[in-house]
């Protein structure tokens, strides 16, 4: 990097993710960075972002960062402390605009693996599985994926598709029976932000983080990422950094301060 950055990589990710979220929309979130990004968006440009948790918390005013998507912070001063059947049904019914997911690995169509590395029967590494990810990736309108990018994580073929992206390409989601007009929308990594090409449904670069080169981006992906003239991602402002410290005072997620 040419200049010394005055922010940490995690702070940048949180801010980039927060910028994508819109006021007056609904979002299904997990804990960790997605939660922090949603809380930051609420405290900046999107005060009316409706946060919904898969275990039943609806519209909370989250006091401090929850540790789990079911902990009591997820329904603190909420509009409803409901149930999984209720919130998953609203998801299936089209009420949820955005869903936030993490991923161990992704393919060019935005399919995600969080289940196994190696053989399913006798795995090299057993990961936790779908959790609510398959439900969110199947049923919310737009999925946003946050993950670390390297050659083992941006791969041509996944050993296991836990959560659907665009499956095998255009039309594949609808053919499989998934709700029309849904699918992955953005992928945010430590190097840049990606969207999906409207015709091919393949991952495409839409911004690179300050100081990151196209070569670096390609070197950290097994599949080809078409070089494109893209803008730099907007870095965190001092005010955003201050808010992030307020949201995560113990530095549980925003590490490396």
């Amino acid at each position: 990097m040419a200049e010394m950055a005055t922010y940490t990589p995690t702070e940048l990710l949180a801010c980039v993710a927060a910028h994508i979220l819109e006021d007056g929309k609904s979002i299904f979130v997990g804990t960790g960075l997605p939660m922090i990004a949603s809380m930051l968006a609420q405290r900046t440009h999107a005060p009316n972002l409706l946060i919904v948790f898969e275990a039943g918390g609806v519209g909370p005013q989250v006091p401090v960062l929850p540790i789990s998507v079911g902990d009591s912070r997820t329904f603190h001063r909420a509009v409803a402390a409901s149930s999984m059947h209720d919130v998953m049904s609203t998801l299936q019914n089209g009420y949820i605009d955005y869903g936030f997911l993490g991923a161990a690995a992704i393919d060019p169509y935005g399919n995600i693996n969080t289940t196994v590395i190696g053989d399913w029967e006798r795995p090299q590494v057993r990961l936790p599985g779908s959790g609510g990810a398959n439900d969110i990736g199947s049923l919310c309108w737009r999925t946003i994926i946050m993950m670390r990018q390297d050659k083992r994580r941006f791969v041509n073929k996944l050993p296991f598709i836990t959560t659907p992206g665009y499956l095998t390409g255009p039309g594949a989601r609808e053919a499989a029976g998934l709700p029309e007009g849904t699918g992955p929308y953005r992928v945010i990594t430590q190097l840049g932000v990606y969207g999906f090409d409207e015709t091919t449904k393949r991952l495409k670069l839409i911004s690179r983080h300050p100081g990151v080169t196209i070569e670096e981006i390609q070197a950290n992906s097994e599949f080809e990422i078409a070089p494109a003239e893209v803008p730099e991602s907007t870095p965190p402002t001092p005010e955003e950094q201050r808010l992030l410290r307020e949201i995560d005072p113990s530095g549980m997620v925003i590490k490396g301060r």
Binding site: G57, G70, D71, S82, M84, M88, L91, P128, G129, G177
Partner: protein, 336 residues
């Protein structure tokens, strides 16, 4: 109905709905009777080797830990467990050798705290087998189908993925829309276990905060064991019947266990014991450490009360209460 695709996962906990109705008629008493007993009695009477078990709550929230420790103490074996986002409970039951098969929506991880050394080691070495995959909504709807007395319920998740391929679901053509739709088979656990804030001696139980899938699971399970922070008078229940989540006729055992969810969180009452969870995640990195943990906290104590003393007693528990009620700062946690 045209079957388009069938998942290859093992079908766990399914019964023909008529068989289940007969079982209910013969085995579930509608009598309003005192069901209080000790945790030891409840586990001895209702949990059998090979049973399919599930816990209420979610992850590290509202987990009936006194029952879990008792299952370990009584050395139950070959249990199948619902990984319906099962975290601490399933991890220690696998570590103790009680659970050797899991249907997984989410297991082998502790959310933000990282992956489970004990659970992962057991799966990666073949000691514990994943018999099927599913998602959180998928599991919860399997319980809903069972709670409704139906053989299956349709849903629009799992489609197009390996999560479906390794599930016990089927994809059919919806006779109305003509689109492919996923049919999730009903799941009737042999035993479900819950920890609740209050319950009367008959089993009428209230839950505060989010219900997660407890409403459905309580109605799907054949046997229902409840631990409660306190046993309240029937009058407390009848005064506010809208707060009853689990009515008595579903319940087989009621055990009074204050702080019975420790080290997991009890909404409004006490926070996660991060220190204790971290201790487990650290010692369970080795087989020896795992066994030493059980020797100390399960076999080395006479009951749950003695365990609570061992983990820090009144001082620790009142601290966890202050954190939960936002009167003390949340401890920093995560890795080491």
């Amino acid at each position: 109905m045209e079957i388009l695709r069938e998942g290859q996962g093992e079908l766990i906990g399914w019964h023909d709905p008529d068989e289940h109705r007969r079982w209910v008629r013969e085995n579930k008493s509608r009598e309003l009777k005192d069901k209080t007993m000790t945790v030891a009695e409840a586990v001895e009477k209702f949990v059998h080797d090979g049973d399919f078990i599930a816990c209420g709550g979610f992850g590290h929230i509202r987990i009936p830990m006194a029952l879990i420790y008792e299952i370990i103490r009584q050395r139950k074996r070959n249990l199948i467990m619902a990984g319906k986002t099962a975290v601490h409970d399933i991890d220690i039951l696998i570590g103790a050798g009680c659970v050797n098969r899991v249907e997984v929506a989410y297991a082998f991880g502790h959310e933000l705290r990282g992956l489970s050394p004990a659970g992962r080691r057991a799966v990666e070495s073949g000691k514990c087998k994943v018999v099927a995959e599913i998602s959180n909504a998928g599991y919860q709807w399997r319980f809903l189908a069972a709670a409704m007395g139906l053989p299956f319920i349709p849903a629009r998740n799992l489609l197009g993925t390996d999560t479906f391929e390794k599930s016990s679901a089927k994809i059919v053509r919806d006779p109305w829309s003509g689109k492919p739709i996923c049919l999730l088979p009903a799941a009737y656990p042999d035993v479900a276990m819950f920890h609740v804030p209050r319950c009367d001696k008959y089993g009428n139980a209230q839950i505060d905060g989010i219900l997660v899938e407890d409403f459905e699971l309580a109605r799907a399970a054949r046997r229902l064991l409840i631990t409660t922070e306190e046993i309240v008078d029937e009058e407390v229940i009848r005064r506010e019947p809208d707060r009853t989540v689990i009515p008595f006729f579903l319940v087989d055992a009621v055990c009074e266990v204050p702080y019975g969810a420790h080290p997991t969180q009890m909404p409004y009452l006490y926070f996660f014991d991060e220190e204790h969870i971290r201790e487990w995640l650290t010692v369970s990195k080795t087989e020896e450490g795992t066994q030493a943990y059980f020797d100390k906290y399960v076999f080395g104590v006479k009951d749950f009360e003695e365990y609570l003393e061992l983990v820090g007693g009144v001082r620790k528990l009142s601290y966890l209460k202050r954190v939960e009620q936002l009167r003390a700062p949340m401890p920093a946690q995560g890795g080491e």
